[in-house]
Assembly symmetry: C2
Homo-oligomer: 147 residues x 2
DNA sequence: ATAATTTATTTCGAATTCGAGATAATGAAA
DNA sequence: TTTCATTATCTCGAATTCGAAATAAATTAT
């Protein structure tokens, strides 16, 4: 059962990591669908909600999405009335995405629920374990990114 | 910087988990593309390589994919000649996917390289840390799935 | 000042995934 | 046995994502 050498251990880590995140995101998706959004729309909306207006291009960095995909998501959120585009006055290449009143109202309503849901989903570990896990994941992730 | 209550800690855990896995999978994808496969194709091929022939439906469970998606991936691998379909003699609803000689040869060649790559990518933690991380992720994931 | 390069966004087509429904076979119930 | 429900696979259309190329504006270099 246990990995008998470091390579197998690394592979096992990758598999367990993938499956753990899959279990979690599958539940989180259920929560988000209940708000009439998909996970990407929610992520973009949340970014604007918490960090204020953003150049469209910067959204991609934070939400881990290609710029062409951002265009698509921003279009959808705009059609739903939750955000709007706003041209940058100093650089005409740039377009900001800004959350609307409707978007604000929605997020005021659903974000607390969303946090509760995530907390419930992550209740398999206690506070200290979560802190430890976060540190280890940061270490793992930063190293992987640096290669 | 640090989360000041449990809900924020859970949210942070989710974000860090997502980003860590993203950093890792992005590197693993690079590795797999180098073998002329995409990650899903590789996962299916690896399953058949290590676990032997599988009913198409069971592949979906292990690779976390809907049955209609499995059909698509199996079609592609079959066209590439790495696997073939084999009807089940006792249950005519069932079709097995079986790795071919060509698929075997490919995996004999690339799987060791793939394990090396994963090990390099995961080298940010030592063996004990990996073991600990695995246990915590299992605990987290199993709980999330059970909700 | 003009040209060349870089940057931001969008368009377009392709790849991947899903869910709902179709088809066919098996198993259970009457 | 005939019917009903379940199971396995596939088809189809829609959603999402990407990468390459197009467009347009800003910046840098000559």
């Amino acid at each position: 059962m246990g990995a008998d050498n470091e390579k197998e251990l690394s592979l096992k880590l990758f598999v367990v990591l993938t499956r753990a995140l899959d279990s979690i995101t599958s539940k989180i998706k259920d929560d988000i669908r209940g708000y009439g959004l998909n996970p990407t729309e929610f992520a973009v909306l949340e970014l604007l909600y918490h960090k204020g207006e953003q150049p469209i291009q910067k959204i991609g960095d934070k939400v881990l999405l290609a710029s062409s995909s951002i265009t698509y998501v921003v279009d959808k959120l705009e059609k739903k009335g939750y955000i709007k585009r706003k041209p940058c006055p100093t650089d005409r290449r740039v377009t900001y995405a800004v959350i609307t009143e409707l978007g604000q109202t929605l997020m005021d309503e659903i974000f607390p629920k969303h946090m509760d849901a995530i907390n419930d989903i992550c209740a398999g570990l206690n506070v200290d374990e979560k802190k430890l896990l976060i540190e280890m994941l940061k270490k793992l992730g930063l190293f992987a990114k640096s290669i």
